[in-house]
Amino acid sequence: MVMPSSDWVELNFGPQHPSMHGVLRLKAKLDGEIVKEIEPVIGYLHRNAEKICEMTYFNDNLIYFDRMDYVGAMNMEVGYLEAAEKLLDISISERVKWIRVIMAELSRIAAHLVWAGAYGLDLGMLTPFFHCFIEREKILTIFTEVSGSRQEVNYMCVGGVYQDITEKAINEIEDFVREFPKRLKDIFNMLMKNDIFLSRTKGIGILDKETAISYGVTGPMLRASGVEYDVRKAEPYLVYDQVNFDIPVSYKGDNLARVLVRFEEMRQSLKIVEQAVKKIPDGPYFNPKAKKSLMIRMRGEGDVYARTESSKGEFGVYIVGDGGVKPYRVRVRSPTLRNLSVLPELAKDVMIADMIAISGTLDLVFGEIDR
């Protein structure tokens, strides 16, 4: 029986809702259990970081980038510095590049672990969440070891990193690389061996290639739809052209494909970290030119766009400088915002449970969407 649209029930999911990953609000129109149309409403965490960035020095902006994708902060720092260092004409040494690669990849694993745990919770599974966070805590300890803070690290700065990576931290990373695959396999098995999990993900929320590209979807979501696009390969930054890794791709485009791609990405990131720890060369960890300018007297002119692959997708930073010590305009290409914009397309005529399962695979982090 088809209900007329006037009989649809309007229901607000969020902004406070257990599985809205922060403060997403979905205005849903329901026909019984079936979601007829949804409209995402965002902005509950809006801080206008772009405006704040116009008011602070180039180097100080980093802490606002930490707080965008707060589960994988190092990736955001890499993304911002890629643009800022080009604008300010400050080069970085080889050692710094390798350190940044290690940190970015560890941070990618950390972000994916948060996602994997939260996705289990979305589907009603309690246990994987804790195992994910136990492993994530090890990464955060490594971050503390190198930078002094756990989550919002503020480790990198224009021209290098604040503190050199220590021997102890490298040992810890090596330990992590050795021990993590065991636990990852367990987490993977908890999800993938479960028939109910498969029935909740297989063939649900299929995103085809053309729609994905047109909506600007990037990252694991795009790769799960069959596009082999990864900024680390397409436009290698730092030293990604010197490490050996693969891009996981699936041609199914459903929830399960996105889950599998993310799990494979964790394994690939681990591979990168393993190589990078061995290859890391000696050298200065800081560009003296930046230090001499006291971090606040760096001037840049022109406009620079740099794109990097964050854990959510293509993270781009566009900086316009007018020759002053502060940026004239900073614009952030938030990958999750585009990934979220495809949700009304995906969650059409699906059940409520599927809508939650689909929005879980988008890997939403509201610090980044609302900025």
């Binding site: 602070t56 020095y57 180097n59 100080d60 902006n61 980093l62 802490i63 606002y64 246990t127 195992h131 136990i134 805590e137 300890t141 503390t144 070891e145 190198v146 930078s147 002094g148 803070s149 919002e152 503020n154 700065c157 604040y162 503190q163 220590t166 102890k168 367990d186 098995n189 908890m190 993938m192 061996k193 479960n194 028939d195 109910i196 498969l198 297989k202 082999e228 693969d246 891009i247 996981p248 791709v249 699936s250 041609y251 199914k252 399960l256 494909a257 599998l260 791609v261 799990f263 494979e264 006291l294 971090m295 606040i296």
Partner: protein, 144 residues
């Protein structure tokens, strides 16, 4: 580029049971939690939280005030004899907005302002701002 593979089809209930075994396996492993007030976690060497100030070294250059990204540091006049600090201004810190970014420590020319491991700085809302004299004290000596 590698293509990820979907897990193979299995007999229905077997997967569920193996998942249950994977979960219940962990009952024999040690818990990882730390019982906080009794057991202090082992903090890495570089862990930093609270800002300290060496009053004798501070020259009142206001660099820390300039570099602080969210204006947690403000310069205060303190009546104190210090030949290096002619203007008699010292930084105070509002820990309510401090993000522990360590920029002030990086920029300080005399290493007067620095961060240290102390992190148990619970305060009521109105007493987040530490005056320069209080910044020079250890955390348990600060009375608010």
């Amino acid at each position: 580029m590698i293509e990820v593979k979907e897990p193979k089809k299995k007999i229905p209930v077997v997967g569920l049971i193996s998942g249950m075994l994977t979960v219940s396996k962990y009952i024999f492993k040690k818990p990882v939690t730390v019982q906080y007030p009794e057991q202090k976690p082992e903090l890495p060497d570089r862990f930093r939280f609270r800002i300290f100030l060496k009053l004798d070294d501070c020259v009142g250059c206001t660099l820390c005030e300039q570099v602080c990204p969210n204006h947690s540091i403000n310069m205060q006049k303190v009546d104190r004899e210090n030949p290096r600090n002619k203007r008699k201004i010292y930084p105070d810190v509002n820990f309510g907005t401090c993000t522990v970014c360590r920029n002030c420590q990086e920029i300080c020319p005399t290493e007067a302002i620095y961060l240290d491991k102390e992190f148990e700085t619970a305060r009521t809302r109105n007493s987040f701002t530490y005056s320069p004299e209080e910044l020079a004290l250890k955390e348990n000596e600060v009375i608010k």
